[in-house]
């Protein structure tokens, strides 16, 4: 097994790449160090069969060649209880299929919490791999009046020790020397193997005090800031302000970027169209592939802005406070504080939201969050909402010039999605996800300034994940749906949309959607919007032979002709509830490790959407 993997690792003709594992407890700054060491030379994949992400990267050592660095999930012990911890344990023992046993280990510990983090040193050093103990956050330790003697600790542990700071780059030289195999290593000494945690902690405490460790004073600024951010009145208000700020940035700051990308995609389409000879191939490229990729790329600025903000919140330490404030409310609907940020992200797009649920350790809570996230009003619903609302509602002011009837309708749809999420979470808790839960544990790290470097890397990394994971699915599906709309060929020419495969499907499902007030044209739109919700706008445009965008007055007129007001409300409600997004289905399948939950979710949301749309049609008429 290792033979073939070595070649893969060695990559571009190098004889054999050395693999080094990065191990450490959560909140030790392990990922910051990983980013510092590898920069952009990293990639993300999943471990086989589980939902844990595998981060790999290359460290450049100049003439010494490259080292492959593996960022393992954070763990306090090597007695695994969660998937994350099992992965760390398996990789370190060389039991993970497809991953070679590491040749060496970087053990990252938070030096401001040394005694507690040293507990991990005993089992890691007992593995017998060459290990460098990296005492991260050593600048914090000194600033807060703590100290320790690295040489004494190295002697106690029988392993080299380096005080470091992943944020400022302190100690990186020594880490490079270790990776290059040029660091003097003290004689290995046998360490006690202790199974029980209190005894292990006693040993670690003794070790720390023998290395003249002086613990830092509690972070004064964190105390003061928590006095404000967790204040009974000011705390929730500040959280609300932060949430609104993130939304504002997502929808206004990202909008010009999205517009820019959209026109760029248009230009590329025009250029490709001019280059290729007319025919089916050109249409597949221009109308299928380019338009399909374009429909994903326009969401990229929002995703990037969202992850920039999540990055600032997480790196600064505020995210944990947000989870703390939100926990009581989230607990009432059967979720927990850590579900808050993923659900918030789902207002941009459910795909990154579902990826963000990885911070939730409790499996049930994570599953519940994944299952309700697509009810949040994502950005892809907005063009659909905008079109229908503009077609059927006058822009009469209600409260001042900004908040009119249309804004009220839009707000109502947001509330509707939110209520569906709450109801579903409660339903899940009392049915398939019933039972005892693991206790909610939340560490509140000290506040820190986020570094630009770390934020930049995070945005690039998450954008890349979004583009590859969602992009490949959407690209495939849009090309597929384009083909459905243009086949079967009649005399070598694409048929009228009404006679295409998609049109036939639209007519076939017409009896089923007739009670909702939808005709076959809307039916075709429902089929094509499976790729991504906003695709229905373009589809309806194609059917009516009008340039399809939400602002198009021609399309609004056509819709008023096709739909009764009841049908319009039904369509809005349908889009609020249905899981019209195959990239979400794909991500849920990946994250839950099978088809069971995505199919359940799809069926449930479709049933709810149909029922609610029918109700709306009957009530409004």
């Amino acid at each position: 097994m290792s033979g073939c993997h070595d070649c893969a690792l060695a990559g571009r003709g190098e004889p054999k790449a050395i693999t080094v594992a990065l191990v450490g407890p959560p909140n030790s700054g392990k990922s910051t160090l990983f980013n510092r060491l590898t920069g952009l030379r990293q990639r993300v994949a999943n471990y086989p069969g589980v939902t844990v992400e595998q981060h790999r990267g290359r460290v450049r050592l100049g003439t010494r060649g490259d080292v492959e660095l593996l960022d393992l999930p954070g763990t306090y012990t090597l007695q695994p209880r969660s998937d994350d911890e099992r992965i760390t344990d398996d990789v370190l023992r060389g039991r993970m299929p497809g991953t070679p046993r590491p040749d060496a280990v970087l053990l990252v510990l938070d030096s401001t919490n040394l005694a507690r983090h040293l507990v991990l040193a005993a089992p890691v050093l007992a593995l017998g791999l060459p290990t460098l103990v990296v005492l991260n956050l050593s600048d914090d330790l000194e600033r807060r009046g703590g100290s320790l003697d690295p040489a004494a600790l190295a002697q106690q542990l029988g392993a080299p020790v380096v005080p470091a700071s992943a944020a400022t780059g302190r100690g990186i030289e020594t880490i490079h020397e270790f990776l290059a195999g040029r660091l003097a290593v003290p004689a290995r000494i046998p360490l006690p193997t202790i199974q029980n945690i209190p005894a292990c902690r006693m040993w670690a405490g003794r070790l720390a005090s023998q290395s003249t460790y002086r613990a830092p004073t509690p972070p004064l600024w964190t105390r003061r800031l928590d006095g404000v951010f967790l204040h009974p009145v000011a705390g929730p208000l500040l959280l609300l302000a932060v949430v609104l700020g993130v939304f504002q940035a997502m929808f206004s700051a990202a909008a010009p970027l999205s517009d820019g990308l959209e026109s760029m995609v248009g230009a590329i389409g025009g250029w490709a169209g001019a280059l290729l000879p007319a025919g089916v191939a050109r249409d597949v490229v221009v109308q299928g592939a380019v338009a399909g990729v374009g429909s994903v790329i326009v969401f990229l600025p929002q995703i990037a802005v969202l992850f920039l903000f999540i990055g600032i919140l997480e790196d600064s330490g505020y995210l944990a406070r947000a989870a703390l404030i939100a926990d009581r409310t989230m607990a009432r609907i059967g979720l927990q504080g850590k579900s808050f940020i993923p659900l918030l992200s789902a207002y941009a797009c459910a795909v990154p939201a579902i990826l963000a649920t990885r911070t939730i350790e409790s499996k049930r809570d994570r599953l519940a969050t994944i299952l309700v996230a697509p009810f949040m009003t994502c950005a892809a619903r907005l063009p659909v909402y905008a079109l229908i609302i503009a077609a059927f509602l006058p822009n009469t002011p209600l409260l001042g010039p900004v908040f009119g009837v249309r804004a009220a309708a839009l707000l109502g749809l947001y509330v509707l999605g939110f209520l569906a999420a709450v109801g579903t979470a409660r339903l899940l808790r009392s049915t398939i996800l019933r039972g005892d839960r693991a206790p909610f544990l939340l560490e509140l790290p000290p506040y820190r300034w986020p570094t630009l470097r770390s934020l930049g890397l995070r945005v690039v990394d998450r954008s890349r994940v979004f583009l590859t994971r969602a992009g490949t699915v959407i690209l495939g599906v849009t090309v597929g749906i384009w083909l459905l709309c243009h086949l079967p060929l009649a005399n070598g020419k694409a048929p009228d949309l009404s006679h295409s495969v998609a049109g036939t499907i639209g007519r076939t499902i017409e009896p089923a959607i007739r009670p909702l007030g939808f005709d076959w044209k809307i039916g075709v739109g429902l089929v094509t919007s499976l790729a991504a919700r906003e695709v229905i706008v373009g589809t309806l445009g194609t059917i009516h032979g009008i340039d399809g965008n939400a602002g198009s007055t021609g399309l609004q007129q056509a819709l008023r002709h096709d739909l009764t007001p009841g049908g319009a409300v039904a369509l809005l409600v349908f889009f609020a509830f249905a899981m019209q997004c195959l990239s979400t289905v794909a991500v849920v399948r990946r994250e839950t490790g099978g088809w069971r939950y995505p199919l359940l979710q799809f069926g449930y949301m479709l049933t709810l959407a149909y029922g609610a749309a029918l109700l709306a049609k009957v009530i409004v008429g």
């Binding site: 945690i197 967790l230 009974p232 009581r328 693991a438 909610f440």
Partner: protein
């Protein structure tokens, strides 16, 4: 005052026993909540739940339902 749930803010006490299933207890112990450790109640989230405790150099938030299961040693 028998459990962490009732520990007043700014006060400290010694943890005696974790009345929790062993996996849950192990998780708490990894974070520093093991018998014999000194715990300080720091503050609560707005609304009073969860509560934040300082233990072994870190601040950890626990819901009341969990804090209730962490028994305190009686003072001599």
């Amino acid at each position: 005052m028998n459990t962490l749930e009732d520990l007043p803010f700014g006060c400290d006490a010694v943890l005696d026993e974790l009345a929790l299933p062993s996996d849950d207890a192990a998780r708490l112990m990894e974070l520093g909540f093991f018998p014999g450790v000194r715990v300080v109640a720091v503050r609560a989230a707005p609304g009073g739940d969860p509560r934040v405790f300082r233990v072994d150099g870190a601040e950890i938030a626990l819901r009341r339902e969990t804090a209730r299961c962490l028994r305190l040693r009686r003072r001599a």
